[in-house]
Protein backbone atom coordinates (compact mmCIF):
# COMPACT_ATOMS: atom_id res chain seq x y z
CA UNK A 1 0.00 0.00 0.00
CA UNK A 2 2.74 2.39 0.97
CA UNK A 3 4.77 1.48 -2.09
CA UNK A 4 1.72 2.25 -4.20
CA UNK A 5 1.40 5.65 -2.56
CA UNK A 6 5.03 6.54 -3.18
CA UNK A 7 5.03 5.29 -6.73
CA UNK A 8 1.97 7.36 -7.55
CA UNK A 9 3.83 10.40 -6.25
CA UNK A 10 7.09 10.39 -8.14
CA UNK A 11 7.99 13.97 -7.25
CA UNK A 12 8.31 13.32 -3.51
CA UNK A 13 6.13 11.97 -0.79
CA UNK A 14 5.58 15.16 1.15
CA UNK A 15 3.40 18.17 0.47
CA UNK A 16 5.60 20.37 2.64
CA UNK A 17 8.93 21.68 1.50
CA UNK A 18 11.64 23.98 2.64
CA UNK A 19 10.99 27.61 1.79
CA UNK A 20 13.08 30.72 2.17
CA UNK A 21 11.94 32.92 5.06
CA UNK A 22 9.77 35.77 3.91
CA UNK A 23 12.37 38.42 4.72
CA UNK A 24 15.01 36.73 2.57
CA UNK A 25 14.35 38.59 -0.73
CA UNK A 26 14.49 41.92 1.09
CA UNK A 27 17.70 40.92 2.84
CA UNK A 28 19.15 39.81 -0.49
CA UNK A 29 18.20 43.14 -1.99
CA UNK A 30 19.95 45.03 0.78
CA UNK A 31 23.00 42.78 0.40
CA UNK A 32 23.03 43.29 -3.36
CA UNK A 33 22.74 47.05 -3.06
CA UNK A 34 25.52 47.19 -0.45
CA UNK A 35 27.74 44.97 -2.59
CA UNK A 36 26.92 47.07 -5.64
CA UNK A 37 27.85 50.25 -3.79
CA UNK A 38 31.04 48.65 -2.51
CA UNK A 39 32.07 47.46 -5.97
CA UNK A 40 31.14 50.78 -7.51
CA UNK A 41 33.14 52.73 -4.94
CA UNK A 42 35.98 50.19 -4.87
CA UNK A 43 36.57 50.26 -8.63
CA UNK A 44 35.82 53.97 -8.71
CA UNK A 45 33.15 53.66 -11.41
CA UNK A 46 32.10 57.14 -12.37
CA UNK A 47 28.54 56.43 -13.52
CA UNK A 48 25.94 55.81 -10.86
CA UNK A 49 24.01 53.89 -13.51
CA UNK A 50 26.77 51.28 -13.48
CA UNK A 51 26.47 50.99 -9.70
CA UNK A 52 22.78 50.38 -10.03
CA UNK A 53 23.16 47.81 -12.81
CA UNK A 54 25.78 45.91 -10.82
CA UNK A 55 23.46 45.90 -7.80
CA UNK A 56 20.57 44.69 -9.95
CA UNK A 57 22.56 41.84 -11.50
CA UNK A 58 23.93 40.87 -8.08
CA UNK A 59 20.40 40.79 -6.69
CA UNK A 60 19.18 38.46 -9.41
CA UNK A 61 22.21 36.15 -8.96
CA UNK A 62 22.10 36.08 -5.15
CA UNK A 63 18.39 35.48 -5.15
CA UNK A 64 18.74 32.59 -7.60
CA UNK A 65 21.59 30.97 -5.69
CA UNK A 66 20.04 31.20 -2.22
CA UNK A 67 16.75 29.90 -3.50
CA UNK A 68 18.39 27.08 -5.45
CA UNK A 69 20.32 25.98 -2.39
CA UNK A 70 17.43 26.08 0.07
CA UNK A 71 14.30 25.46 -1.99
CA UNK A 72 15.36 23.72 -5.17
CA UNK A 73 15.53 24.62 -8.84
CA UNK A 74 11.86 25.22 -9.53
CA UNK A 75 11.55 27.91 -6.91
CA UNK A 76 14.89 29.37 -7.96
CA UNK A 77 13.64 29.70 -11.51
CA UNK A 78 10.49 31.34 -10.25
CA UNK A 79 12.57 33.85 -8.28
CA UNK A 80 14.78 34.42 -11.31
CA UNK A 81 11.81 35.24 -13.52
CA UNK A 82 10.21 37.42 -10.85
CA UNK A 83 13.46 39.29 -10.25
CA UNK A 84 13.98 39.84 -13.97
CA UNK A 85 10.48 41.24 -14.29
CA UNK A 86 11.12 43.62 -11.43
CA UNK A 87 14.50 44.69 -12.77
CA UNK A 88 13.00 45.33 -16.20
CA UNK A 89 10.19 47.30 -14.60
CA UNK A 90 12.62 49.46 -12.65
CA UNK A 91 14.83 49.96 -15.69
CA UNK A 92 11.82 51.10 -17.68
CA UNK A 93 10.80 53.43 -14.91
CA UNK A 94 14.27 54.94 -14.56
CA UNK A 95 14.29 57.22 -17.63
CA UNK A 96 10.68 58.17 -17.03
CA UNK A 97 11.32 59.30 -13.50
CA UNK A 98 14.58 61.01 -14.34
CA UNK A 99 12.94 62.97 -17.16
CA UNK A 100 10.12 64.01 -14.87
CA UNK A 101 12.52 64.88 -12.08
CA UNK A 102 14.79 66.87 -14.37
CA UNK A 103 11.90 68.83 -15.87
CA UNK A 104 10.29 69.55 -12.55
CA UNK A 105 13.48 70.53 -10.75
CA UNK A 106 14.64 72.82 -13.56
CA UNK A 107 11.25 74.15 -14.60
CA UNK A 108 9.41 74.72 -11.35
CA UNK A 109 11.51 77.80 -10.58
CA UNK A 110 9.99 79.96 -13.32
CA UNK A 111 6.40 78.77 -12.98
CA UNK A 112 4.22 81.48 -11.51
CA UNK A 113 1.09 83.38 -12.40
CA UNK A 114 3.06 85.87 -14.47
CA UNK A 115 4.71 83.09 -16.48
CA UNK A 116 1.38 81.47 -17.26
CA UNK A 117 -0.45 84.66 -18.23
CA UNK A 118 2.10 86.69 -20.19
CA UNK A 119 3.72 86.38 -23.58
CA UNK A 120 7.30 87.00 -24.62
CA UNK A 121 6.40 90.32 -26.19
CA UNK A 122 9.30 92.75 -25.66
CA UNK A 123 11.28 90.46 -23.37
CA UNK A 124 15.02 90.49 -24.11
CA UNK A 125 16.85 87.18 -24.13
CA UNK A 126 18.79 87.86 -20.93
CA UNK A 127 15.86 89.40 -19.09
CA UNK A 128 13.83 87.66 -16.37
CA UNK A 129 10.07 87.44 -16.64
CA UNK A 130 8.13 86.78 -19.81
CA UNK A 131 5.87 83.80 -20.17
CA UNK A 132 4.27 81.20 -22.36
CA UNK A 133 0.66 82.27 -22.45
CA UNK A 134 0.87 82.81 -26.22
CA UNK A 135 2.40 79.34 -26.69
CA UNK A 136 -0.13 77.66 -24.40
CA UNK A 137 -3.01 79.27 -26.32
CA UNK A 138 -1.38 78.24 -29.60
CA UNK A 139 -0.92 74.62 -28.55
CA UNK A 140 -4.43 74.27 -27.16
CA UNK A 141 -6.04 75.80 -30.25
CA UNK A 142 -3.96 73.89 -32.76
CA UNK A 143 -4.44 70.57 -31.00
CA UNK A 144 -8.16 71.21 -30.58
CA UNK A 145 -8.53 72.00 -34.28
CA UNK A 146 -6.47 68.97 -35.28
CA UNK A 147 -8.58 66.73 -33.03
CA UNK A 148 -11.73 68.25 -34.47
CA UNK A 149 -10.66 66.98 -37.92
CA UNK A 150 -8.86 63.80 -37.04
CA UNK A 151 -11.07 62.31 -34.31
CA UNK A 152 -14.38 62.15 -36.25
CA UNK A 153 -12.73 61.16 -39.53
CA UNK A 154 -10.57 58.58 -37.78
CA UNK A 155 -13.40 57.07 -35.78
CA UNK A 156 -15.68 56.90 -38.82
CA UNK A 157 -12.89 55.30 -40.86
CA UNK A 158 -12.47 52.67 -38.17
CA UNK A 159 -16.23 52.10 -38.11
CA UNK A 160 -16.11 51.52 -41.86
CA UNK A 161 -13.18 49.14 -41.56
CA UNK A 162 -14.72 47.03 -38.80
CA UNK A 163 -18.47 47.25 -39.38
CA UNK A 164 -18.83 47.64 -43.15
CA UNK A 165 -15.58 46.83 -44.95
CA UNK A 166 -14.89 43.54 -43.19
CA UNK A 167 -11.82 42.66 -45.20
CA UNK A 168 -12.98 43.71 -48.67
CA UNK A 169 -10.48 45.26 -51.07
CA UNK A 170 -11.22 48.87 -50.16
CA UNK A 171 -10.89 48.25 -46.44
CA UNK A 172 -7.64 46.35 -46.97
CA UNK A 173 -6.27 49.25 -49.00
CA UNK A 174 -7.40 51.79 -46.39
CA UNK A 175 -5.89 49.66 -43.65
CA UNK A 176 -2.59 49.46 -45.53
CA UNK A 177 -2.38 53.21 -46.08
CA UNK A 178 -3.26 53.87 -42.45
CA UNK A 179 -0.29 51.70 -41.50
CA UNK A 180 1.91 53.63 -43.93
CA UNK A 181 0.64 56.93 -42.52
CA UNK A 182 1.55 55.82 -39.00
CA UNK A 183 5.17 55.86 -40.06
CA UNK A 184 5.09 59.26 -41.79
CA UNK A 185 7.58 61.54 -40.04
CA UNK A 186 6.08 64.78 -38.78
CA UNK A 187 8.39 66.82 -41.01
CA UNK A 188 6.89 65.13 -44.08
CA UNK A 189 3.36 65.96 -42.96
CA UNK A 190 4.56 69.51 -42.42
CA UNK A 191 6.14 69.67 -45.88
CA UNK A 192 2.97 68.34 -47.47
CA UNK A 193 0.82 71.04 -45.92
CA UNK A 194 3.50 73.62 -46.65
CA UNK A 195 3.59 72.81 -50.35
CA UNK A 196 -0.14 72.23 -50.74
CA UNK A 197 -1.75 74.74 -48.41
CA UNK A 198 0.78 77.56 -48.26
CA UNK A 199 2.66 77.41 -51.56
CA UNK A 200 -0.01 76.13 -53.98
CA UNK A 201 -3.14 77.56 -52.36
CA UNK A 202 -1.17 80.60 -51.23
CA UNK A 203 -2.55 80.58 -47.68
CA UNK A 204 -0.76 82.43 -44.87
CA UNK A 205 1.21 80.87 -42.00
CA UNK A 206 -1.41 80.25 -39.33
CA UNK A 207 -2.23 77.98 -36.43
CA UNK A 208 -4.81 76.41 -38.72
CA UNK A 209 -2.16 75.31 -41.21
CA UNK A 210 -0.26 73.68 -38.34
CA UNK A 211 -3.47 71.99 -37.18
CA UNK A 212 -3.89 70.46 -40.65
CA UNK A 213 -0.47 68.84 -40.43
CA UNK A 214 -1.14 67.69 -36.87
CA UNK A 215 -4.43 66.15 -38.04
CA UNK A 216 -2.53 64.12 -40.65
CA UNK A 217 -0.25 62.81 -37.91
CA UNK A 218 -3.13 62.09 -35.57
CA UNK A 219 -5.42 60.35 -38.03
CA UNK A 220 -3.69 56.94 -38.33
CA UNK A 221 -3.31 56.61 -34.56
CA UNK A 222 -7.01 57.29 -34.05
CA UNK A 223 -8.02 54.87 -36.81
CA UNK A 224 -5.79 52.06 -35.59
CA UNK A 225 -6.74 52.32 -31.90
CA UNK A 226 -10.46 52.75 -32.60
CA UNK A 227 -10.35 49.78 -34.96
CA UNK A 228 -8.83 47.59 -32.27
CA UNK A 229 -11.43 48.74 -29.74
CA UNK A 230 -14.34 48.07 -32.10
CA UNK A 231 -12.98 44.60 -32.81
CA UNK A 232 -13.10 43.93 -29.07
CA UNK A 233 -16.85 44.57 -28.91
CA UNK A 234 -18.41 41.09 -28.78
CA UNK A 235 -20.30 40.12 -31.89
CA UNK A 236 -23.10 38.88 -29.65
CA UNK A 237 -24.00 42.47 -28.77
CA UNK A 238 -24.32 43.41 -32.45
CA UNK A 239 -26.45 40.31 -33.08
CA UNK A 240 -28.60 40.99 -30.03
CA UNK A 241 -29.29 44.47 -31.28
CA UNK A 242 -29.92 43.40 -34.89
CA UNK A 243 -32.23 40.64 -33.68
CA UNK A 244 -34.35 43.27 -31.94
CA UNK A 245 -35.02 44.78 -35.35
CA UNK A 246 -32.63 47.67 -34.78
CA UNK A 247 -31.10 48.99 -38.02
CA UNK A 248 -27.39 48.61 -38.46
CA UNK A 249 -26.47 52.27 -38.12
CA UNK A 250 -28.38 52.53 -34.84
CA UNK A 251 -26.74 49.34 -33.64
CA UNK A 252 -23.36 50.94 -34.31
CA UNK A 253 -24.14 54.33 -32.79
CA UNK A 254 -26.15 53.17 -29.79
CA UNK A 255 -24.64 49.80 -28.90
CA UNK A 256 -21.20 49.28 -30.45
CA UNK A 257 -19.70 52.75 -30.04
CA UNK A 258 -20.87 53.27 -26.43
CA UNK A 259 -19.49 49.86 -25.48
CA UNK A 260 -16.11 50.75 -26.96
CA UNK A 261 -16.17 54.39 -25.85
CA UNK A 262 -13.61 54.08 -23.07
CA UNK A 263 -11.05 52.58 -25.39
CA UNK A 264 -11.81 55.02 -28.17
CA UNK A 265 -11.33 57.99 -25.85
CA UNK A 266 -8.04 56.54 -24.66
CA UNK A 267 -6.96 56.09 -28.27
CA UNK A 268 -7.81 59.68 -29.14
CA UNK A 269 -5.91 60.84 -26.07
CA UNK A 270 -2.86 58.84 -27.10
CA UNK A 271 -3.08 60.43 -30.52
CA UNK A 272 -3.28 63.88 -28.92
CA UNK A 273 -0.29 63.04 -26.76
CA UNK A 274 1.55 62.16 -29.97
CA UNK A 275 0.87 65.49 -31.68
CA UNK A 276 1.00 67.88 -28.75
CA UNK A 277 4.78 67.71 -28.64
CA UNK A 278 5.35 68.09 -32.40
CA UNK A 279 7.75 70.90 -33.28
CA UNK A 280 8.68 70.47 -36.92
CA UNK A 281 5.31 71.11 -38.61
CA UNK A 282 4.61 73.98 -36.24
CA UNK A 283 7.92 75.56 -37.12
CA UNK A 284 7.14 75.29 -40.83
CA UNK A 285 3.48 76.21 -40.83
CA UNK A 286 2.67 78.28 -37.75
CA UNK A 287 5.95 80.12 -37.94
CA UNK A 288 6.18 81.08 -34.26
CA UNK A 289 5.43 84.36 -32.56
CA UNK A 290 6.31 86.18 -29.36
CA UNK A 291 2.97 87.87 -29.02
CA UNK A 292 -0.45 86.60 -28.07
CA UNK A 293 -2.54 85.65 -31.11
CA UNK A 294 -5.86 84.17 -30.10
CA UNK A 295 -7.02 83.60 -33.68
CA UNK A 296 -5.63 80.40 -35.22
CA UNK A 297 -6.99 81.38 -38.64
CA UNK A 298 -4.86 84.47 -39.21
CA UNK A 299 -1.24 85.36 -38.56
CA UNK A 300 1.45 83.20 -36.97
CA UNK A 301 1.06 81.68 -33.54
CA UNK A 302 3.40 79.87 -31.21
CA UNK A 303 3.12 76.53 -29.46
CA UNK A 304 4.67 74.95 -26.40
CA UNK A 305 7.25 72.70 -28.09
CA UNK A 306 8.23 75.54 -30.42
CA UNK A 307 8.50 77.84 -27.40
CA UNK A 308 10.79 75.36 -25.67
CA UNK A 309 12.92 75.07 -28.79
CA UNK A 310 13.30 78.82 -29.38
CA UNK A 311 13.88 79.66 -25.73
CA UNK A 312 16.48 76.93 -25.35
CA UNK A 313 18.18 78.13 -28.52
CA UNK A 314 18.63 81.63 -27.14
CA UNK A 315 21.24 80.23 -24.79
CA UNK A 316 21.00 82.56 -21.81
CA UNK A 317 20.28 81.32 -18.28
CA UNK A 318 16.96 83.17 -18.21
CA UNK A 319 15.71 81.79 -21.53
CA UNK A 320 16.84 78.25 -20.70
CA UNK A 321 14.93 78.40 -17.43
CA UNK A 322 11.90 79.48 -19.45
CA UNK A 323 12.46 76.54 -21.80
CA UNK A 324 12.33 74.09 -18.87
CA UNK A 325 9.24 75.86 -17.58
CA UNK A 326 7.64 75.41 -21.00
CA UNK A 327 8.53 71.71 -21.00
CA UNK A 328 6.99 71.29 -17.57
CA UNK A 329 3.78 73.02 -18.67
CA UNK A 330 3.70 70.79 -21.78
CA UNK A 331 3.93 67.66 -19.63
CA UNK A 332 1.27 69.04 -17.30
CA UNK A 333 -1.06 69.77 -20.23
CA UNK A 334 -0.72 66.20 -21.53
CA UNK A 335 -1.29 64.81 -18.04
CA UNK A 336 -4.38 66.93 -17.41
CA UNK A 337 -5.83 65.96 -20.81
CA UNK A 338 -5.21 62.33 -19.95
CA UNK A 339 -6.89 62.59 -16.56
CA UNK A 340 -9.90 64.33 -18.07
CA UNK A 341 -10.18 61.65 -20.74
CA UNK A 342 -9.91 58.86 -18.20
CA UNK A 343 -12.63 60.50 -16.14
CA UNK A 344 -14.84 60.72 -19.22
CA UNK A 345 -14.13 57.13 -20.16
CA UNK A 346 -14.92 55.86 -16.67
CA UNK A 347 -18.11 57.88 -16.53
CA UNK A 348 -19.31 56.36 -19.80
CA UNK A 349 -17.77 52.91 -19.43
CA UNK A 350 -19.83 49.68 -19.45
CA UNK A 351 -21.29 49.35 -15.98
CA UNK A 352 -21.17 46.50 -13.54
CA UNK A 353 -19.23 44.19 -15.83
CA UNK A 354 -18.90 41.14 -13.63
CA UNK A 355 -17.71 38.83 -16.34
Amino acid sequence: MSSLATSSRPLGSSLTERRLPRWMPAANLVLAVLLGLAIGAGFDLSSKLQWGLIAAILFVVIQYVTSAVVEGRRHAKNYLATSLVWVAFLLALLPLISVLWMTISKGIGVINANFLTHSMNGIAINQDGGGLYHALIGTLEQVALASLFAAPVGILTAVYLVEYGRGNKLSKAVSFFVDVMTGVPSIVAGLFILSFWIIILNMPFTGFAGALALAILMLPVVVRSTEEMLKLVPNELREASLALGVPKWLTITRVVLPTALGGIVTGVMLAIARIVGETAPILMLVFGADTINMNPFSNPQSSLPLYVWTEYGKGTDQSQARAWGGALVLIAVVMILNLVARGLARWKAPKGATR
Partner: protein, 258 residues
Protein backbone atom coordinates in the same frame (compact mmCIF):
# COMPACT_ATOMS: atom_id res chain seq x y z
CA UNK B 1 -50.52 37.55 -32.66
CA UNK B 2 -48.56 34.38 -33.31
CA UNK B 3 -47.77 33.40 -36.86
CA UNK B 4 -47.26 30.17 -38.69
CA UNK B 5 -43.93 29.49 -40.37
CA UNK B 6 -43.85 27.44 -43.56
CA UNK B 7 -40.39 26.62 -44.85
CA UNK B 8 -39.84 24.98 -48.21
CA UNK B 9 -36.68 23.95 -50.01
CA UNK B 10 -34.33 25.97 -47.84
CA UNK B 11 -30.56 25.82 -48.31
CA UNK B 12 -28.15 27.90 -46.21
CA UNK B 13 -24.54 28.58 -47.20
CA UNK B 14 -21.41 29.96 -45.58
CA UNK B 15 -19.51 31.13 -48.64
CA UNK B 16 -19.17 28.02 -50.79
CA UNK B 17 -20.06 25.62 -47.99
CA UNK B 18 -23.62 24.38 -47.81
CA UNK B 19 -24.43 24.08 -44.11
CA UNK B 20 -28.12 23.20 -44.40
CA UNK B 21 -29.66 21.28 -47.26
CA UNK B 22 -33.19 21.32 -48.57
CA UNK B 23 -35.27 21.80 -45.47
CA UNK B 24 -39.04 21.95 -45.57
CA UNK B 25 -41.18 22.11 -42.45
CA UNK B 26 -44.13 23.82 -40.88
CA UNK B 27 -43.98 25.47 -37.47
CA UNK B 28 -47.42 25.82 -35.93
CA UNK B 29 -48.45 29.05 -34.18
CA UNK B 30 -48.85 29.18 -30.39
CA UNK B 31 -46.76 26.11 -29.88
CA UNK B 32 -43.22 25.18 -29.02
CA UNK B 33 -41.14 23.47 -31.67
CA UNK B 34 -37.83 22.00 -30.56
CA UNK B 35 -34.84 21.36 -32.82
CA UNK B 36 -32.56 18.56 -31.68
CA UNK B 37 -29.56 16.93 -33.27
CA UNK B 38 -25.79 16.56 -32.95
CA UNK B 39 -23.46 19.57 -32.97
CA UNK B 40 -22.77 21.00 -36.40
CA UNK B 41 -25.94 19.60 -37.98
CA UNK B 42 -27.24 23.06 -38.88
CA UNK B 43 -29.95 23.55 -36.23
CA UNK B 44 -28.68 26.99 -35.23
CA UNK B 45 -27.95 27.96 -38.82
CA UNK B 46 -31.46 27.00 -39.83
CA UNK B 47 -32.91 28.85 -36.83
CA UNK B 48 -31.05 31.98 -37.87
CA UNK B 49 -32.49 31.82 -41.37
CA UNK B 50 -35.96 32.22 -39.84
CA UNK B 51 -35.33 35.86 -38.93
CA UNK B 52 -32.69 36.64 -41.54
CA UNK B 53 -29.89 36.73 -38.98
CA UNK B 54 -27.95 34.20 -41.04
CA UNK B 55 -26.97 36.79 -43.64
CA UNK B 56 -25.38 38.97 -40.96
CA UNK B 57 -22.34 36.68 -41.16
CA UNK B 58 -20.06 37.73 -44.04
CA UNK B 59 -20.44 35.44 -47.05
CA UNK B 60 -23.54 33.73 -45.72
CA UNK B 61 -26.59 33.37 -47.97
CA UNK B 62 -29.87 31.54 -48.14
CA UNK B 63 -31.89 29.92 -50.91
CA UNK B 64 -35.48 28.84 -50.62
CA UNK B 65 -38.71 30.10 -49.16
CA UNK B 66 -39.74 30.93 -45.60
CA UNK B 67 -43.39 31.89 -45.43
CA UNK B 68 -44.51 33.79 -42.34
CA UNK B 69 -48.26 33.34 -42.69
CA UNK B 70 -48.35 34.33 -46.37
CA UNK B 71 -45.29 36.52 -46.72
CA UNK B 72 -42.02 35.12 -48.00
CA UNK B 73 -39.23 36.41 -45.76
CA UNK B 74 -36.81 36.04 -48.67
CA UNK B 75 -39.10 37.66 -51.21
CA UNK B 76 -38.36 40.89 -53.03
CA UNK B 77 -38.82 44.16 -51.12
CA UNK B 78 -38.67 42.46 -47.73
CA UNK B 79 -36.80 44.57 -45.17
CA UNK B 80 -34.67 42.32 -42.93
CA UNK B 81 -34.92 44.87 -40.12
CA UNK B 82 -38.72 44.59 -40.17
CA UNK B 83 -38.43 40.78 -40.25
CA UNK B 84 -36.31 40.82 -37.12
CA UNK B 85 -38.87 43.00 -35.35
CA UNK B 86 -41.48 40.38 -36.11
CA UNK B 87 -39.31 37.37 -35.34
CA UNK B 88 -37.36 37.89 -32.11
CA UNK B 89 -34.38 35.92 -30.97
CA UNK B 90 -32.73 34.81 -27.72
CA UNK B 91 -29.13 33.67 -27.90
CA UNK B 92 -27.11 30.90 -26.32
CA UNK B 93 -25.09 33.18 -24.07
CA UNK B 94 -26.90 35.94 -22.17
CA UNK B 95 -25.86 39.18 -23.88
CA UNK B 96 -27.35 42.21 -22.14
CA UNK B 97 -25.98 45.52 -23.44
CA UNK B 98 -23.17 46.36 -20.99
CA UNK B 99 -23.61 50.14 -21.20
CA UNK B 100 -27.30 50.01 -20.30
CA UNK B 101 -29.26 49.57 -17.09
CA UNK B 102 -31.80 46.78 -16.63
CA UNK B 103 -34.61 49.08 -17.70
CA UNK B 104 -32.70 50.47 -20.67
CA UNK B 105 -31.88 46.94 -21.77
CA UNK B 106 -35.53 45.94 -21.87
CA UNK B 107 -36.50 49.22 -23.52
CA UNK B 108 -33.63 49.08 -26.02
CA UNK B 109 -35.65 47.55 -28.83
CA UNK B 110 -38.42 50.11 -28.43
CA UNK B 111 -36.20 53.12 -27.91
CA UNK B 112 -33.85 52.32 -30.76
CA UNK B 113 -36.89 51.90 -32.99
CA UNK B 114 -38.05 55.39 -32.17
CA UNK B 115 -40.61 55.00 -29.36
CA UNK B 116 -40.31 58.19 -27.29
CA UNK B 117 -43.40 58.02 -25.05
CA UNK B 118 -42.05 57.47 -21.53
CA UNK B 119 -45.27 56.04 -20.16
CA UNK B 120 -45.54 53.57 -23.01
CA UNK B 121 -41.94 52.47 -22.44
CA UNK B 122 -42.39 52.08 -18.68
CA UNK B 123 -45.46 49.94 -19.26
CA UNK B 124 -43.68 47.82 -21.81
CA UNK B 125 -40.71 47.36 -19.47
CA UNK B 126 -42.90 46.18 -16.61
CA UNK B 127 -45.02 43.97 -18.85
CA UNK B 128 -41.96 42.35 -20.44
CA UNK B 129 -40.13 41.84 -17.16
CA UNK B 130 -43.28 40.29 -15.66
CA UNK B 131 -43.60 38.18 -18.80
CA UNK B 132 -40.03 36.97 -18.31
CA UNK B 133 -40.62 36.22 -14.61
CA UNK B 134 -37.99 38.74 -13.63
CA UNK B 135 -40.04 41.68 -12.39
CA UNK B 136 -40.10 40.74 -8.72
CA UNK B 137 -36.36 40.22 -8.64
CA UNK B 138 -35.35 43.48 -10.29
CA UNK B 139 -38.19 45.96 -9.72
CA UNK B 140 -36.21 47.77 -7.02
CA UNK B 141 -33.04 48.09 -9.07
CA UNK B 142 -34.18 48.86 -12.58
CA UNK B 143 -31.47 51.50 -12.94
CA UNK B 144 -28.65 49.13 -12.01
CA UNK B 145 -26.53 47.71 -14.85
CA UNK B 146 -27.92 44.65 -16.58
CA UNK B 147 -24.53 42.96 -16.58
CA UNK B 148 -24.64 42.85 -12.77
CA UNK B 149 -27.36 40.20 -12.71
CA UNK B 150 -26.69 36.48 -12.40
CA UNK B 151 -26.45 34.38 -15.55
CA UNK B 152 -30.00 33.08 -15.30
CA UNK B 153 -31.37 36.52 -14.58
CA UNK B 154 -29.41 37.93 -17.49
CA UNK B 155 -30.92 35.33 -19.80
CA UNK B 156 -34.42 36.18 -18.59
CA UNK B 157 -33.51 39.84 -19.09
CA UNK B 158 -32.63 39.00 -22.68
CA UNK B 159 -35.96 37.22 -23.08
CA UNK B 160 -37.71 40.29 -21.65
CA UNK B 161 -35.78 42.44 -24.10
CA UNK B 162 -36.83 40.19 -26.98
CA UNK B 163 -40.54 40.14 -26.07
CA UNK B 164 -40.66 43.89 -25.32
CA UNK B 165 -40.85 44.65 -29.06
CA UNK B 166 -43.86 42.31 -29.25
CA UNK B 167 -42.66 39.90 -31.93
CA UNK B 168 -44.90 37.23 -33.43
CA UNK B 169 -42.32 34.50 -33.22
CA UNK B 170 -39.57 33.89 -30.66
CA UNK B 171 -36.49 31.94 -31.68
CA UNK B 172 -34.32 30.54 -28.89
CA UNK B 173 -30.85 29.23 -29.64
CA UNK B 174 -29.92 26.93 -26.75
CA UNK B 175 -31.18 29.47 -24.22
CA UNK B 176 -30.38 27.30 -21.20
CA UNK B 177 -27.02 25.81 -22.12
CA UNK B 178 -25.11 28.34 -20.02
CA UNK B 179 -27.46 28.13 -17.04
CA UNK B 180 -27.79 26.05 -13.88
CA UNK B 181 -30.78 23.69 -13.40
CA UNK B 182 -32.80 26.14 -11.32
CA UNK B 183 -32.47 28.94 -13.86
CA UNK B 184 -33.18 26.40 -16.59
CA UNK B 185 -36.40 25.43 -14.85
CA UNK B 186 -37.39 29.09 -14.56
CA UNK B 187 -36.85 29.55 -18.29
CA UNK B 188 -38.70 26.36 -19.18
CA UNK B 189 -41.68 27.48 -17.12
CA UNK B 190 -41.46 30.79 -18.91
CA UNK B 191 -41.48 29.09 -22.31
CA UNK B 192 -44.66 27.28 -21.26
CA UNK B 193 -46.32 30.61 -20.54
CA UNK B 194 -44.95 32.41 -23.58
CA UNK B 195 -46.31 29.87 -26.03
CA UNK B 196 -49.80 31.15 -25.34
CA UNK B 197 -48.83 34.35 -27.14
CA UNK B 198 -45.91 33.50 -29.36
CA UNK B 199 -44.78 30.90 -31.80
CA UNK B 200 -41.66 29.51 -30.17
CA UNK B 201 -38.79 27.65 -31.80
CA UNK B 202 -36.09 26.37 -29.50
CA UNK B 203 -32.77 24.72 -30.32
CA UNK B 204 -31.58 22.46 -27.54
CA UNK B 205 -28.97 19.81 -26.86
CA UNK B 206 -30.89 18.63 -23.86
CA UNK B 207 -33.32 15.93 -24.92
CA UNK B 208 -35.22 15.97 -21.64
CA UNK B 209 -35.71 19.68 -22.15
CA UNK B 210 -37.08 19.12 -25.63
CA UNK B 211 -39.42 16.48 -24.23
CA UNK B 212 -40.54 18.76 -21.39
CA UNK B 213 -41.20 22.02 -23.20
CA UNK B 214 -42.02 21.26 -26.82
CA UNK B 215 -45.17 20.24 -28.65
CA UNK B 216 -43.35 19.24 -31.77
CA UNK B 217 -39.77 18.11 -32.24
CA UNK B 218 -37.57 18.20 -35.33
CA UNK B 219 -34.52 15.97 -35.56
CA UNK B 220 -31.57 17.20 -37.64
CA UNK B 221 -28.57 15.16 -38.65
CA UNK B 222 -25.60 15.23 -40.98
CA UNK B 223 -24.17 12.31 -42.85
CA UNK B 224 -20.55 13.24 -42.10
CA UNK B 225 -18.05 15.99 -41.40
CA UNK B 226 -18.18 18.59 -44.18
CA UNK B 227 -21.60 17.38 -45.28
CA UNK B 228 -24.62 19.65 -45.03
CA UNK B 229 -27.14 19.16 -42.24
CA UNK B 230 -30.61 17.84 -43.10
CA UNK B 231 -33.95 17.58 -41.45
CA UNK B 232 -34.51 13.90 -40.71
CA UNK B 233 -38.03 14.15 -39.37
CA UNK B 234 -40.44 16.42 -37.59
CA UNK B 235 -43.41 15.15 -35.64
CA UNK B 236 -45.23 15.55 -32.36
CA UNK B 237 -42.80 15.40 -29.46
CA UNK B 238 -44.60 12.43 -28.02
CA UNK B 239 -44.18 10.43 -31.20
CA UNK B 240 -40.53 11.42 -31.71
CA UNK B 241 -39.61 10.34 -28.22
CA UNK B 242 -41.67 7.16 -28.10
CA UNK B 243 -41.92 5.84 -31.59
CA UNK B 244 -39.97 7.80 -34.20
CA UNK B 245 -40.39 6.82 -37.84
CA UNK B 246 -36.67 6.94 -38.63
CA UNK B 247 -34.10 4.67 -37.04
CA UNK B 248 -31.47 7.45 -36.76
CA UNK B 249 -33.82 9.47 -34.59
CA UNK B 250 -34.31 6.61 -32.21
CA UNK B 251 -30.56 5.94 -32.08
CA UNK B 252 -29.86 9.59 -31.29
CA UNK B 253 -32.56 9.89 -28.65
CA UNK B 254 -31.66 6.65 -26.92
CA UNK B 255 -27.95 7.54 -26.93
CA UNK B 256 -26.91 4.85 -29.38
CA UNK B 257 -25.77 7.41 -31.87
CA UNK B 258 -22.76 6.81 -34.10
Amino acid sequence: MAKRIDVSGLNAYYGGFRAVEDISMVVEPRSVTAFIGPSGCGKSTFLRTLNRMHEVIPGARVEGKVLLDDENLYGANIDPVAVRRTVGMVFQRPNPFPTMSIKENVAAGLKLNGVRNKKLIDEAVERSLRGANLWNEVKDRLDKPGAGLSGGQQQRLCIARAIAVEPQVLLMDEPCSALDPISTLAIEDLIGQLKEQFTIVIVTHNMQQAARVSDRTAFFNLSGVGQPGRLIEIDSTEKIFSNPSVQATEDYISGRFG
